[in-house]
Protein backbone atom coordinates (compact mmCIF):
# COMPACT_ATOMS: atom_id res chain seq x y z
CA UNK A 1 0.00 0.00 0.00
CA UNK A 2 2.68 2.51 1.14
CA UNK A 3 5.09 1.60 -1.69
CA UNK A 4 2.21 1.93 -4.15
CA UNK A 5 1.57 5.54 -3.19
CA UNK A 6 5.20 6.49 -2.42
CA UNK A 7 7.31 4.20 -4.72
CA UNK A 8 10.51 6.24 -4.34
CA UNK A 9 10.38 6.94 -0.59
CA UNK A 10 13.10 5.26 1.43
CA UNK A 11 11.74 5.27 4.99
CA UNK A 12 15.16 5.04 6.64
CA UNK A 13 16.32 8.08 4.72
CA UNK A 14 13.08 9.97 5.40
CA UNK A 15 13.49 9.30 9.12
CA UNK A 16 17.10 10.50 9.03
CA UNK A 17 16.02 13.72 7.27
CA UNK A 18 13.18 14.21 9.75
CA UNK A 19 15.65 13.82 12.57
CA UNK A 20 17.91 16.48 11.00
CA UNK A 21 14.99 18.91 10.80
CA UNK A 22 14.02 18.22 14.41
CA UNK A 23 17.65 18.62 15.47
CA UNK A 24 18.04 22.01 13.73
CA UNK A 25 14.69 23.24 15.04
CA UNK A 26 15.25 21.96 18.57
CA UNK A 27 18.76 23.30 19.10
CA UNK A 28 17.96 26.70 17.58
CA UNK A 29 14.72 27.09 19.51
CA UNK A 30 16.61 26.78 22.82
CA UNK A 31 19.01 29.55 21.82
CA UNK A 32 16.24 31.67 20.33
CA UNK A 33 14.21 31.37 23.52
CA UNK A 34 17.09 32.58 25.70
CA UNK A 35 18.38 35.22 23.30
CA UNK A 36 14.88 36.48 22.47
CA UNK A 37 13.95 36.86 26.13
CA UNK A 38 17.18 38.71 26.93
CA UNK A 39 16.74 41.07 23.95
CA UNK A 40 13.02 41.47 24.56
CA UNK A 41 13.59 42.28 28.23
CA UNK A 42 16.30 44.81 27.36
CA UNK A 43 14.10 46.54 24.81
CA UNK A 44 11.17 46.56 27.24
CA UNK A 45 13.14 47.76 30.25
CA UNK A 46 14.92 50.54 28.37
CA UNK A 47 11.76 51.80 26.66
CA UNK A 48 10.03 54.97 27.75
CA UNK A 49 8.55 54.95 31.25
CA UNK A 50 10.16 51.69 32.31
CA UNK A 51 12.72 50.63 34.89
CA UNK A 52 15.91 51.23 32.89
CA UNK A 53 14.59 53.93 30.57
CA UNK A 54 17.46 54.80 28.21
CA UNK A 55 16.83 56.20 24.77
CA UNK A 56 20.24 55.23 23.37
CA UNK A 57 20.33 51.58 24.41
CA UNK A 58 16.69 51.24 23.40
CA UNK A 59 17.43 52.76 19.98
CA UNK A 60 20.45 50.55 19.34
CA UNK A 61 18.86 47.22 20.33
CA UNK A 62 15.58 48.07 18.68
CA UNK A 63 17.44 49.06 15.49
CA UNK A 64 19.44 45.81 15.43
CA UNK A 65 16.29 43.78 15.92
CA UNK A 66 14.60 45.56 13.03
CA UNK A 67 17.59 45.11 10.73
CA UNK A 68 18.01 41.38 11.35
CA UNK A 69 14.30 40.82 11.17
CA UNK A 70 14.14 42.50 7.76
CA UNK A 71 16.92 40.62 5.98
CA UNK A 72 15.44 37.77 3.92
CA UNK A 73 16.57 34.46 5.35
CA UNK A 74 18.26 33.16 2.19
CA UNK A 75 20.37 36.31 2.01
CA UNK A 76 21.15 36.13 5.74
CA UNK A 77 22.60 32.62 5.27
CA UNK A 78 24.92 33.91 2.55
CA UNK A 79 25.91 36.99 4.56
CA UNK A 80 26.73 34.84 7.55
CA UNK A 81 28.98 32.39 5.66
CA UNK A 82 32.28 33.81 7.05
CA UNK A 83 30.86 33.91 10.57
CA UNK A 84 29.51 30.36 10.29
CA UNK A 85 32.83 29.05 8.91
CA UNK A 86 34.66 30.66 11.82
CA UNK A 87 32.21 29.27 14.38
CA UNK A 88 31.39 25.78 13.05
CA UNK A 89 34.32 25.23 10.67
CA UNK A 90 32.15 24.16 7.73
CA UNK A 91 29.26 25.34 5.58
CA UNK A 92 27.69 21.90 5.13
CA UNK A 93 25.42 20.00 7.50
CA UNK A 94 22.83 20.72 10.14
CA UNK A 95 25.25 22.43 12.57
CA UNK A 96 26.24 24.94 9.92
CA UNK A 97 22.62 26.05 9.62
CA UNK A 98 22.32 26.89 13.32
CA UNK A 99 23.93 30.38 13.39
CA UNK A 100 21.72 31.63 10.57
CA UNK A 101 18.60 30.03 12.06
CA UNK A 102 19.25 31.57 15.47
CA UNK A 103 20.27 35.02 14.26
CA UNK A 104 17.39 35.06 11.79
CA UNK A 105 14.68 34.14 14.31
CA UNK A 106 15.81 35.53 17.67
CA UNK A 107 14.98 39.16 16.73
CA UNK A 108 11.51 38.07 15.60
CA UNK A 109 10.97 36.34 18.92
CA UNK A 110 12.45 39.31 20.84
CA UNK A 111 9.68 41.51 19.43
CA UNK A 112 7.05 39.02 20.55
CA UNK A 113 8.63 38.95 24.02
CA UNK A 114 8.50 42.74 24.13
CA UNK A 115 4.82 42.74 23.16
CA UNK A 116 4.10 40.14 25.84
CA UNK A 117 5.88 42.21 28.48
CA UNK A 118 4.03 45.36 27.45
CA UNK A 119 0.74 43.64 28.11
CA UNK A 120 1.56 43.31 31.80
CA UNK A 121 -0.46 45.76 33.86
CA UNK A 122 1.80 48.64 34.93
CA UNK A 123 0.03 48.61 38.29
CA UNK A 124 1.43 45.16 39.07
CA UNK A 125 4.97 46.41 38.51
CA UNK A 126 4.20 49.43 40.67
CA UNK A 127 2.84 47.16 43.41
CA UNK A 128 6.05 45.12 43.37
CA UNK A 129 8.08 48.33 43.63
CA UNK A 130 5.93 49.50 46.52
CA UNK A 131 6.72 46.22 48.30
CA UNK A 132 10.42 47.00 48.02
CA UNK A 133 11.27 44.62 45.15
CA UNK A 134 14.51 45.26 43.25
CA UNK A 135 14.77 45.03 39.46
CA UNK A 136 16.07 41.45 39.57
CA UNK A 137 13.03 40.34 41.59
CA UNK A 138 10.69 42.28 39.33
CA UNK A 139 12.13 40.54 36.25
CA UNK A 140 12.09 37.00 37.61
CA UNK A 141 9.05 37.11 39.86
CA UNK A 142 6.77 39.53 38.04
CA UNK A 143 7.68 40.18 34.40
CA UNK A 144 8.55 36.65 33.27
CA UNK A 145 5.86 34.69 35.18
CA UNK A 146 3.13 37.22 34.30
CA UNK A 147 4.01 37.14 30.59
CA UNK A 148 4.70 33.38 30.41
CA UNK A 149 1.63 32.44 28.32
CA UNK A 150 2.60 35.10 25.77
CA UNK A 151 6.21 33.92 25.84
CA UNK A 152 5.16 30.32 25.18
CA UNK A 153 2.66 31.11 22.43
CA UNK A 154 5.34 33.36 20.90
CA UNK A 155 7.93 30.60 20.89
CA UNK A 156 5.34 28.29 19.30
CA UNK A 157 4.82 30.68 16.41
CA UNK A 158 8.59 31.16 16.13
CA UNK A 159 9.21 27.40 16.12
CA UNK A 160 6.75 26.91 13.29
CA UNK A 161 8.39 29.67 11.24
CA UNK A 162 11.70 28.03 12.09
CA UNK A 163 10.64 24.69 10.55
CA UNK A 164 10.11 26.66 7.36
CA UNK A 165 13.57 28.23 7.67
CA UNK A 166 15.21 24.81 8.15
CA UNK A 167 13.66 23.76 4.84
CA UNK A 168 15.25 26.77 3.11
CA UNK A 169 18.57 26.05 4.83
CA UNK A 170 18.22 22.45 3.67
CA UNK A 171 18.20 23.48 0.05
CA UNK A 172 21.56 25.17 0.59
CA UNK A 173 23.09 22.03 2.08
CA UNK A 174 22.02 21.81 5.70
CA UNK A 175 20.14 18.53 5.29
CA UNK A 176 16.71 17.95 6.72
CA UNK A 177 13.32 17.57 5.08
CA UNK A 178 13.76 20.62 2.85
CA UNK A 179 16.89 19.07 1.38
CA UNK A 180 15.03 15.76 0.97
CA UNK A 181 12.10 17.37 -0.81
CA UNK A 182 14.33 19.38 -3.11
CA UNK A 183 17.28 17.08 -3.94
CA UNK A 184 15.63 13.65 -3.79
CA UNK A 185 12.21 14.86 -4.79
CA UNK A 186 12.16 17.82 -7.15
CA UNK A 187 15.65 17.44 -8.73
CA UNK A 188 15.14 13.76 -9.54
CA UNK A 189 11.58 14.26 -10.63
CA UNK A 190 10.21 12.08 -7.83
CA UNK A 191 7.07 13.97 -6.87
CA UNK A 192 6.03 11.36 -4.32
CA UNK A 193 9.17 12.12 -2.27
CA UNK A 194 8.39 15.85 -2.30
CA UNK A 195 4.84 15.09 -1.24
CA UNK A 196 5.93 12.76 1.55
CA UNK A 197 8.46 15.30 2.88
CA UNK A 198 5.70 17.90 2.88
CA UNK A 199 3.46 15.60 4.90
CA UNK A 200 6.23 15.10 7.45
CA UNK A 201 6.79 18.86 7.76
CA UNK A 202 3.06 19.42 8.25
CA UNK A 203 3.01 16.75 10.93
CA UNK A 204 5.90 18.43 12.78
CA UNK A 205 4.14 21.81 12.59
CA UNK A 206 0.87 20.37 13.90
CA UNK A 207 2.63 18.68 16.79
CA UNK A 208 4.49 21.90 17.73
CA UNK A 209 1.24 23.87 17.58
CA UNK A 210 -0.56 21.30 19.71
CA UNK A 211 2.14 21.23 22.39
CA UNK A 212 2.40 25.05 22.40
CA UNK A 213 -1.35 25.53 22.75
CA UNK A 214 -1.51 22.93 25.50
CA UNK A 215 1.23 24.57 27.59
CA UNK A 216 -0.15 28.10 27.02
CA UNK A 217 -3.56 26.99 28.21
CA UNK A 218 -2.10 25.29 31.28
CA UNK A 219 -0.13 28.42 32.21
CA UNK A 220 -2.84 30.99 31.64
CA UNK A 221 -4.75 31.63 34.87
CA UNK A 222 -6.27 34.94 33.78
Amino acid sequence: MFSAIFPNVDLAKAWQKTWETLYMTGISIIFIFLLGIILGLLVFLTSKGNLWENRWIYGIISGLINIFRSIPFVILIVLLIPFTKFLVGTMIGADAALPALIIGSAPFYARMVEIGLREIDKGVIEAAKAMGANTFTIIFKVLLPESMPALVSGITVTAIALVGYTAIAGVIGAGGLGDYAYLDGFSQNQNDVTFFATLLILLIVFIIQFIGDFITKKLDKR
Binding site: N134, V142, P145, E146
Partner: protein, 341 residues
Protein backbone atom coordinates in the same frame (compact mmCIF):
# COMPACT_ATOMS: atom_id res chain seq x y z
CA UNK B 1 4.35 59.11 62.34
CA UNK B 2 4.21 60.89 59.00
CA UNK B 3 5.49 64.38 58.55
CA UNK B 4 5.22 66.13 55.20
CA UNK B 5 6.73 69.54 54.78
CA UNK B 6 6.52 71.93 51.86
CA UNK B 7 6.18 68.97 49.54
CA UNK B 8 6.08 69.92 45.87
CA UNK B 9 6.06 67.78 42.75
CA UNK B 10 6.31 69.33 39.31
CA UNK B 11 6.00 67.21 36.18
CA UNK B 12 7.73 68.76 33.21
CA UNK B 13 5.52 68.77 30.13
CA UNK B 14 5.79 70.14 26.61
CA UNK B 15 3.22 72.88 27.09
CA UNK B 16 4.29 74.12 30.51
CA UNK B 17 5.15 72.32 33.73
CA UNK B 18 2.37 70.71 35.72
CA UNK B 19 2.42 71.24 39.47
CA UNK B 20 0.72 68.10 40.77
CA UNK B 21 1.50 68.69 44.44
CA UNK B 22 1.95 72.26 45.60
CA UNK B 23 3.66 73.04 48.93
CA UNK B 24 1.77 70.48 50.97
CA UNK B 25 2.21 70.28 54.75
CA UNK B 26 0.75 67.41 56.75
CA UNK B 27 1.27 65.85 60.17
CA UNK B 28 -0.28 62.42 60.55
CA UNK B 29 -0.30 60.84 63.99
CA UNK B 30 0.46 57.24 64.87
CA UNK B 31 -2.62 55.01 64.79
CA UNK B 32 -4.67 57.57 62.92
CA UNK B 33 -6.86 56.94 59.89
CA UNK B 34 -6.21 59.96 57.76
CA UNK B 35 -8.18 60.66 54.62
CA UNK B 36 -7.25 62.80 51.65
CA UNK B 37 -10.20 63.69 49.46
CA UNK B 38 -10.20 65.40 46.11
CA UNK B 39 -11.52 65.08 42.59
CA UNK B 40 -9.42 63.31 39.99
CA UNK B 41 -6.50 65.45 38.93
CA UNK B 42 -6.27 67.12 42.34
CA UNK B 43 -2.86 65.53 42.87
CA UNK B 44 -3.81 63.07 45.60
CA UNK B 45 -2.45 60.07 43.67
CA UNK B 46 0.89 61.79 43.28
CA UNK B 47 0.88 62.80 46.93
CA UNK B 48 0.36 59.24 48.17
CA UNK B 49 3.12 57.99 45.82
CA UNK B 50 5.49 60.58 47.25
CA UNK B 51 4.94 59.01 50.67
CA UNK B 52 6.60 55.71 49.70
CA UNK B 53 9.07 57.11 47.21
CA UNK B 54 7.34 55.83 44.06
CA UNK B 55 7.62 59.47 43.01
CA UNK B 56 10.56 61.66 44.00
CA UNK B 57 9.65 65.16 45.17
CA UNK B 58 10.79 68.28 43.32
CA UNK B 59 11.24 69.92 46.72
CA UNK B 60 10.16 69.45 50.31
CA UNK B 61 10.42 66.54 52.70
CA UNK B 62 8.59 63.34 53.66
CA UNK B 63 9.50 61.75 56.95
CA UNK B 64 7.88 58.45 57.91
CA UNK B 65 8.72 56.92 61.28
CA UNK B 66 11.95 58.90 61.40
CA UNK B 67 13.07 57.91 57.88
CA UNK B 68 13.64 60.67 55.35
CA UNK B 69 11.91 59.08 52.39
CA UNK B 70 12.78 62.00 50.10
CA UNK B 71 16.50 61.54 50.77
CA UNK B 72 17.06 57.80 50.54
CA UNK B 73 17.63 55.73 47.38
CA UNK B 74 18.28 52.17 46.27
CA UNK B 75 18.48 49.41 48.86
CA UNK B 76 17.69 51.73 51.75
CA UNK B 77 14.50 52.99 50.08
CA UNK B 78 13.44 49.42 49.23
CA UNK B 79 13.99 48.43 52.86
CA UNK B 80 11.90 51.41 54.03
CA UNK B 81 9.09 50.46 51.60
CA UNK B 82 8.75 47.09 53.30
CA UNK B 83 7.54 49.06 56.31
CA UNK B 84 4.91 50.90 54.25
CA UNK B 85 2.12 48.73 52.88
CA UNK B 86 0.09 49.88 49.90
CA UNK B 87 -3.21 48.79 48.38
CA UNK B 88 -4.62 49.86 45.04
CA UNK B 89 -7.86 50.66 43.26
CA UNK B 90 -7.36 47.81 40.80
CA UNK B 91 -5.80 45.49 43.40
CA UNK B 92 -2.70 44.83 41.25
CA UNK B 93 -2.41 41.15 42.14
CA UNK B 94 -0.22 38.76 40.19
CA UNK B 95 -2.67 36.65 38.21
CA UNK B 96 -0.07 33.89 37.81
CA UNK B 97 0.01 33.33 41.57
CA UNK B 98 -2.58 31.86 43.92
CA UNK B 99 -3.94 33.81 46.89
CA UNK B 100 -1.35 32.18 49.13
CA UNK B 101 1.51 32.90 46.71
CA UNK B 102 0.40 36.51 46.23
CA UNK B 103 0.42 37.15 49.97
CA UNK B 104 3.76 35.39 50.21
CA UNK B 105 5.35 37.66 47.58
CA UNK B 106 6.37 40.58 49.87
CA UNK B 107 7.75 38.02 52.33
CA UNK B 108 9.91 36.55 49.57
CA UNK B 109 11.14 40.06 48.82
CA UNK B 110 12.00 40.54 52.50
CA UNK B 111 13.83 37.17 52.38
CA UNK B 112 11.72 35.56 55.10
CA UNK B 113 12.52 31.79 55.41
CA UNK B 114 10.00 29.42 53.84
CA UNK B 115 8.62 27.92 57.06
CA UNK B 116 7.95 31.34 58.59
CA UNK B 117 6.44 32.54 55.33
CA UNK B 118 3.88 29.78 55.39
CA UNK B 119 2.95 30.52 59.00
CA UNK B 120 2.61 34.25 58.36
CA UNK B 121 0.49 33.72 55.25
CA UNK B 122 -1.89 31.50 57.23
CA UNK B 123 -2.24 34.21 59.88
CA UNK B 124 -2.93 36.86 57.25
CA UNK B 125 -5.51 34.76 55.43
CA UNK B 126 -7.36 34.40 58.73
CA UNK B 127 -7.00 38.13 59.49
CA UNK B 128 -8.66 39.19 56.24
CA UNK B 129 -11.22 36.38 56.26
CA UNK B 130 -10.17 34.43 53.18
CA UNK B 131 -10.11 30.94 54.66
CA UNK B 132 -10.85 28.33 52.02
CA UNK B 133 -9.62 30.55 49.17
CA UNK B 134 -5.89 29.94 49.73
CA UNK B 135 -5.32 28.11 46.48
CA UNK B 136 -7.65 30.10 44.25
CA UNK B 137 -6.25 32.32 41.52
CA UNK B 138 -7.21 36.04 41.48
CA UNK B 139 -9.40 35.48 38.40
CA UNK B 140 -11.60 33.21 40.52
CA UNK B 141 -12.23 35.88 43.18
CA UNK B 142 -14.73 38.73 43.47
CA UNK B 143 -13.55 42.34 43.69
CA UNK B 144 -13.93 42.44 47.46
CA UNK B 145 -11.98 39.21 47.87
CA UNK B 146 -9.23 40.54 45.61
CA UNK B 147 -8.92 43.64 47.77
CA UNK B 148 -8.71 41.41 50.84
CA UNK B 149 -5.77 39.64 49.23
CA UNK B 150 -4.29 43.09 48.50
CA UNK B 151 -4.69 44.07 52.15
CA UNK B 152 -3.17 40.81 53.41
CA UNK B 153 -0.26 41.29 51.03
CA UNK B 154 0.26 44.87 52.19
CA UNK B 155 0.30 43.78 55.84
CA UNK B 156 2.65 40.81 55.34
CA UNK B 157 5.82 42.50 56.58
CA UNK B 158 4.11 44.12 59.59
CA UNK B 159 4.26 47.66 58.25
CA UNK B 160 3.68 50.69 60.43
CA UNK B 161 1.80 52.57 57.73
CA UNK B 162 -0.79 51.47 55.18
CA UNK B 163 -1.38 53.60 52.09
CA UNK B 164 -4.72 53.12 50.33
CA UNK B 165 -4.91 54.39 46.77
CA UNK B 166 -8.65 54.63 46.00
CA UNK B 167 -8.92 51.19 47.54
CA UNK B 168 -12.71 51.00 47.34
CA UNK B 169 -13.42 53.00 44.19
CA UNK B 170 -13.78 49.89 42.02
CA UNK B 171 -16.12 48.13 44.45
CA UNK B 172 -19.89 48.19 44.87
CA UNK B 173 -21.30 50.00 47.96
CA UNK B 174 -21.80 46.86 50.02
CA UNK B 175 -18.33 45.49 49.34
CA UNK B 176 -16.91 48.96 49.99
CA UNK B 177 -18.42 48.91 53.47
CA UNK B 178 -17.04 45.46 54.26
CA UNK B 179 -13.55 46.50 53.13
CA UNK B 180 -13.80 49.72 55.18
CA UNK B 181 -14.80 47.66 58.23
CA UNK B 182 -11.76 45.47 57.67
CA UNK B 183 -9.55 48.57 57.53
CA UNK B 184 -10.98 49.89 60.81
CA UNK B 185 -10.51 46.45 62.31
CA UNK B 186 -6.82 46.23 61.43
CA UNK B 187 -6.34 49.86 62.47
CA UNK B 188 -7.60 48.96 65.94
CA UNK B 189 -6.01 45.50 66.20
CA UNK B 190 -2.59 46.41 64.91
CA UNK B 191 -2.42 50.12 65.74
CA UNK B 192 -1.64 50.73 62.10
CA UNK B 193 -1.53 54.26 60.72
CA UNK B 194 -3.69 54.42 57.58
CA UNK B 195 -3.55 57.08 54.90
CA UNK B 196 -6.23 56.81 52.26
CA UNK B 197 -7.09 58.84 49.23
CA UNK B 198 -10.56 58.85 47.76
CA UNK B 199 -13.09 60.96 45.92
CA UNK B 200 -15.98 59.57 47.98
CA UNK B 201 -16.98 61.51 51.11
CA UNK B 202 -18.79 58.36 52.24
CA UNK B 203 -15.43 56.65 52.79
CA UNK B 204 -14.09 59.59 54.79
CA UNK B 205 -17.23 59.77 56.92
CA UNK B 206 -17.19 56.06 57.68
CA UNK B 207 -13.67 55.48 58.86
CA UNK B 208 -11.44 58.56 58.97
CA UNK B 209 -10.43 60.44 62.09
CA UNK B 210 -9.15 63.42 60.18
CA UNK B 211 -9.42 64.55 56.61
CA UNK B 212 -7.55 66.83 54.25
CA UNK B 213 -9.32 68.30 51.25
CA UNK B 214 -7.17 68.68 48.18
CA UNK B 215 -7.71 70.88 45.15
CA UNK B 216 -5.26 71.71 42.35
CA UNK B 217 -2.31 70.28 44.25
CA UNK B 218 -2.98 72.20 47.44
CA UNK B 219 -4.50 71.17 50.75
CA UNK B 220 -7.37 73.64 51.10
CA UNK B 221 -8.76 72.40 54.39
CA UNK B 222 -7.73 69.91 57.06
CA UNK B 223 -9.30 68.86 60.35
CA UNK B 224 -11.28 66.27 62.30
CA UNK B 225 -13.99 64.76 60.13
CA UNK B 226 -16.92 65.93 62.28
CA UNK B 227 -15.50 69.45 62.35
CA UNK B 228 -15.29 69.47 58.55
CA UNK B 229 -18.86 68.20 58.29
CA UNK B 230 -20.13 70.85 60.71
CA UNK B 231 -18.27 73.82 59.34
CA UNK B 232 -16.91 73.26 55.86
CA UNK B 233 -15.12 76.42 54.80
CA UNK B 234 -13.95 75.99 51.23
CA UNK B 235 -16.55 75.67 48.48
CA UNK B 236 -15.10 72.31 47.38
CA UNK B 237 -15.42 70.97 50.93
CA UNK B 238 -19.06 71.98 51.00
CA UNK B 239 -19.56 70.02 47.79
CA UNK B 240 -18.01 66.92 49.31
CA UNK B 241 -20.10 67.24 52.47
CA UNK B 242 -23.22 67.52 50.35
CA UNK B 243 -22.26 64.22 48.67
CA UNK B 244 -23.13 62.48 51.94
CA UNK B 245 -25.80 64.64 53.52
CA UNK B 246 -28.04 65.38 50.63
CA UNK B 247 -29.71 62.80 48.56
CA UNK B 248 -31.33 65.05 46.00
CA UNK B 249 -30.23 68.18 44.28
CA UNK B 250 -30.60 70.52 47.32
CA UNK B 251 -32.12 73.57 45.68
CA UNK B 252 -34.64 71.44 43.87
CA UNK B 253 -35.69 69.71 47.07
CA UNK B 254 -36.08 73.00 48.94
CA UNK B 255 -38.01 74.56 46.10
CA UNK B 256 -40.36 71.63 46.34
CA UNK B 257 -40.74 72.12 50.12
CA UNK B 258 -41.57 75.82 49.66
CA UNK B 259 -44.37 75.04 47.32
CA UNK B 260 -45.78 72.35 49.51
CA UNK B 261 -45.58 74.20 52.86
CA UNK B 262 -46.27 77.88 52.22
CA UNK B 263 -47.04 78.83 55.86
CA UNK B 264 -44.61 79.82 58.62
CA UNK B 265 -40.86 79.58 58.35
CA UNK B 266 -38.85 76.90 56.64
CA UNK B 267 -35.78 76.28 58.80
CA UNK B 268 -32.76 74.04 58.37
CA UNK B 269 -31.38 72.78 61.68
CA UNK B 270 -27.87 71.37 61.76
CA UNK B 271 -26.85 68.97 64.50
CA UNK B 272 -23.40 67.68 65.33
CA UNK B 273 -21.99 65.47 68.06
CA UNK B 274 -24.13 65.22 71.20
CA UNK B 275 -26.95 67.48 70.05
CA UNK B 276 -28.03 64.75 67.61
CA UNK B 277 -29.26 62.59 70.47
CA UNK B 278 -31.35 65.21 72.32
CA UNK B 279 -35.16 65.40 71.94
CA UNK B 280 -35.02 68.98 70.68
CA UNK B 281 -38.23 69.10 68.68
CA UNK B 282 -40.31 67.91 71.61
CA UNK B 283 -38.72 70.57 73.78
CA UNK B 284 -39.47 73.30 71.22
CA UNK B 285 -43.11 72.35 70.94
CA UNK B 286 -43.52 72.15 74.70
CA UNK B 287 -41.84 75.43 75.55
CA UNK B 288 -42.92 77.65 72.70
CA UNK B 289 -46.26 76.25 71.60
CA UNK B 290 -45.22 76.44 67.93
CA UNK B 291 -46.57 74.09 65.31
CA UNK B 292 -43.58 72.19 64.03
CA UNK B 293 -43.70 70.01 60.99
CA UNK B 294 -40.71 67.79 60.15
CA UNK B 295 -40.15 67.80 56.40
CA UNK B 296 -36.87 66.13 55.67
CA UNK B 297 -33.88 64.92 57.62
CA UNK B 298 -30.65 62.99 57.51
CA UNK B 299 -28.05 61.71 59.94
CA UNK B 300 -24.51 60.60 59.04
CA UNK B 301 -22.32 58.76 61.47
CA UNK B 302 -18.63 59.76 61.47
CA UNK B 303 -15.78 58.32 63.51
CA UNK B 304 -15.93 61.20 65.98
CA UNK B 305 -19.67 61.59 66.31
CA UNK B 306 -22.86 61.97 64.33
CA UNK B 307 -23.77 64.80 62.01
CA UNK B 308 -27.26 65.51 60.82
CA UNK B 309 -29.71 68.07 59.58
CA UNK B 310 -33.44 68.53 59.66
CA UNK B 311 -35.75 70.66 57.53
CA UNK B 312 -38.72 71.81 59.60
CA UNK B 313 -41.64 74.11 59.05
CA UNK B 314 -42.35 76.35 62.07
CA UNK B 315 -45.63 78.20 62.36
CA UNK B 316 -46.71 80.49 65.24
CA UNK B 317 -46.46 84.04 66.50
CA UNK B 318 -43.17 85.98 66.19
CA UNK B 319 -42.45 85.88 69.94
CA UNK B 320 -42.67 82.12 70.04
CA UNK B 321 -40.37 81.93 67.02
CA UNK B 322 -37.79 84.18 68.67
CA UNK B 323 -37.92 82.01 71.75
CA UNK B 324 -37.45 78.89 69.65
CA UNK B 325 -34.30 80.35 68.08
CA UNK B 326 -32.96 81.14 71.55
CA UNK B 327 -33.45 77.56 72.69
CA UNK B 328 -31.81 76.24 69.55
CA UNK B 329 -28.71 78.39 69.84
CA UNK B 330 -28.42 77.48 73.55
CA UNK B 331 -28.35 73.83 72.48
CA UNK B 332 -25.65 74.65 69.90
CA UNK B 333 -27.76 73.74 66.94
CA UNK B 334 -27.12 75.48 63.68
CA UNK B 335 -30.18 77.40 62.42
CA UNK B 336 -30.65 78.58 58.89
CA UNK B 337 -33.92 80.20 57.83
CA UNK B 338 -34.41 79.14 54.26
CA UNK B 339 -37.08 81.70 53.37
CA UNK B 340 -39.74 83.75 55.08
CA UNK B 341 -43.04 82.93 53.57
Amino acid sequence: MISVQNLTKIFPAKNGDVTAVDHVNLEIKEGEIFGIIGYSGAGKSTLIRLLNGLETPTSGSVIIDGKEIHNIRGAELRKARQQIGMIFQHFNLLWSRTVRENISFPLEIAKVPKQERKKRVDELIKLVGLEGKEDAYPSQLSGGQKQRVGIARALANNPKVLLCDEATSALDPQTTDSILELLVDINQKLGLTIVLITHEMHVIRKICHRVAVMEAGKIVEVGPVLEIFKRPKAEITKQFVRQVTETEEPSEAIEHLFRKYPEGKLVKLTFAGESVEKPIIAKLIRETGLDINILHGNISQTRNGAYGFLYVQMAGDPEALAKAFEILSAEQIGVEVMKNV
